[in-house]
């Protein structure tokens, strides 16, 4: 029988209702504010839908990262991660209701101008060939399927694990292990196609076979950073202070380093390099827009802030074992993960300008100073990196709701799967 450290608080207790209440108030408030800003005409409705999609993809990446983590632990019979798995389960559990948060995106598809392929211009040969896949009904059916798969997987793993807290039957572990393998395959397919459907088709001409993996590594990054921050926060409030040790932080740091920093850079580079080398116009255009104006600075920020800097900082074992440094790095990684999602979702391609110009310097020149024909707006105003309050309110709103629902899910449960058969291993292991 595993002896858990006594004199340790392993329940959220009265923290749960407080987080839930404030999360719901701030979340609904921020989303309500976003809708008001969107409807007031201060920003276009189109901008609201884009910003909402940005926030939604961001929180979705955290929850999907959590689901992947939970499945991975069962798939590999991992012992080290047992004490931190419950927090990941709490996050992954949000996938059971996140479909509600997807409704505004669907509204954006039908009402707004979010996805250009919904009404393609006449005689657009390229889109005509993609018609069978880029069909609104089919798109919606697929979305329902993705949420069904994620919801069921999350529900199964969370229920099964929390159920084990009651009776401690090791059969639950074996059952989850058996579901983990097919679950992982389902996860990989649904995640890849979901991100193709929701983000890649924002530019319907563009395609990249790396995109699903890119989003996967980004989501692993966001989730690992989030998990470390949550562990540190819980320990600050005097919970699970002894069960979660330096060893767990060290291993989570490795996970963040491997998936979120190095694998991310590897995939991002491969995607860029192949498109750069093949030099096919409808592929390169996606990167061309990200090399203009403010987007260029953002691309460089990602290269240095998502890869080079964190890589050097977290390469050695000592920063990963020093909680303060690791947590600070994670706050940065979570921010830069948001920048990454912003970089994926927000840029739009000025197709008319691309068709018109004949050289790259001319494109840069026109983008910086040119006026869009037939309007009084410059390219910079419409297509360049322009922050808007909506970007912030949407993501804050959705994150607060995630926080509230996570706290609610963990309210009546121990923060550690206290009857998991591998708990002893997790409490006692050492890193070498």
């Amino acid at each position: 029988m595993v002896i858990l450290p006594d004199n340790e608080n392993r329940h959220l207790g009265d923290l749960a209702p407080r987080v839930f209440r404030w999360g719901v108030i701030v979340g609904l408030g921020a989303i309500g504010l976003s809708v008001l800003i969107g409807l007031s005409g201060e920003a276009s409705l189109d901008r609201f839908f884009r910003s909402y999609l940005l926030g939604f993809i961001f929180v979705l990446s955290l929850c999907l990262g959590a689901l992947f983590f939970v499945i991975l632990q069962h798939l590999t019979k991992a012992g080290w991660s047992v004490v931190i798995r419950r927090i990941a389960e709490g996050l992954a559990g949000n996938l059971t209701w996140l479909w509600i948060g997807f409704i505004p995106v669907v509204v954006g598809l039908y009402m707004g101008d979010l996805y250009k392929w919904v009404d393609p211009p006449e005689g657009d040969e390229l889109l005509k060939h993609k018609e069978a896949y880029l069909d609104t009904t089919f798109w919606l059916v697929r979305a329902v399927f993705y949420f069904a798969v994620w919801g069921l997987l999350a529900r199964y793993f969370v229920r099964c694990s929390m159920d084990q807290d009651e009776h401690g039957d090791p059969k639950n572990t074996l059952r989850m292990q058996r579901v983990a393998a097919p679950g992982m395959v389902l996860y990989a397919f649904t995640q890849t196609f979901a991100i193709i459907d929701w983000v890649m088709t924002l530019e319907p001409y563009w395609y990249s076979t790396m995109f699903g993996v890119y989003f996967f590594s980004a989501s692993a990054c966001g989730f690992a950073a989030m998990l470390i921050i949550l562990c540190a926060l819980l320990q600050r409030t005097g919970r699970v202070t002894q069960s979660i040790t330096t060893e767990h932080y060290h291993d989570l740091g490795k996970y963040l380093f491997a998936f979120g920093i190095f694998f991310w850079a590897y995939i991002a580079y491969c995607q860029y390099m192949l498109i750069w080398y093949a030099n096919i116009p409808e592929e390169t255009i996606w990167f061309v827009i990200r090399q203009l104006g403010g987007w260029k600075s953002m691309s460089i920020l990602l290269l240095l802030g998502h890869f080079a800097g964190p890589f050097l900082l977290l390469l050695s074992r000592y920063p990963k074992r020093f909680k303060g440094v690791l947590t600070a790095a994670c706050v940065w990684m979570l921010f830069i993960h948001f920048v990454d999602i912003y970089w994926l979702v927000m840029p739009r391609i000025p197709a008319e300008l691309i068709d018109r110009v004949t050289s790259y310097p001319q494109l840069e020149q026109e983008f910086a100073t040119g006026v869009i024909p037939g309007t009084a707006l410059t390219y910079q105003e419409v297509y360049d990196l322009n922050w808007h309050l909506l970007d912030l309110t949407c993501v804050v709103g959705l994150l607060s709701l995630i926080g509230a629902m996570t706290a609610r899910r963990l309210r009546d449960h121990c923060l550690i799967p206290e009857k998991d058969p591998r708990l002893g291993e997790s409490l006692a292991f050492d890193n070498y």
Binding site: Y269, Y272, M273, W276, Y277, N279, L315, S316, R317, F429, D430, Y432
Partner: protein, 215 residues
Amino acid sequence: MNEPAPKVAPMESPARKSAGAALVPGAGEQRLYGLLAEFETPGAILAAAVRVREAGYRWWDCHTPFFVHGLDKAMGIKPTILPVLVFLCGLTGATVGFVLQWFTNASSFDLWAGVWVRGYEFLISGKPVLSGSVYPIIMFELTVLFSAVGCVIFLLVLNNLPRLYHPCLKSRRFLRATDDRFFIVIEARDPCFYREKTETLLESLGALAVEPLEQ
């Protein structure tokens, strides 16, 4: 080969050395290498290692059939320098990868490498000859190659391997070090080593047997 100077100088007086040697039966022909103590469980050797370290010994080692968690800490082994060396290997690999590509694709230098070779600027499908977009591939591969090979080489060097002979190998009892027994060897050159005292210590730690090893 494997003799960093012991740090405790005052202990090492000639008198003590000879006193230690005099206790060895038949000293002169066969010098004593050390004492071998056999333990039955990982737990026993962990507890024993802590006590041996606390007794001040420096020239001693543990032999186990498998990796015993916590033994490094119990023995007080310092962290290895290997990661730093591997990092330097990786940097070397990245540099070599860059220079190799730059020389062959983007320079026009003559270089003596067995024969005279000349860098040549190849223009391929309009791509720049010196490009941050393609160079990282080879730089990455060479970083990995140099790190991996360097890691193995330095691992062997730091462990004084390959080593074809060790005094422990004479002991029949020691054969079980690869099977189900755990051993502590305290070497005679240790400044704290006195045959009787050390033997008593090892026996008091719960050793199944203590036997002398010849050089």
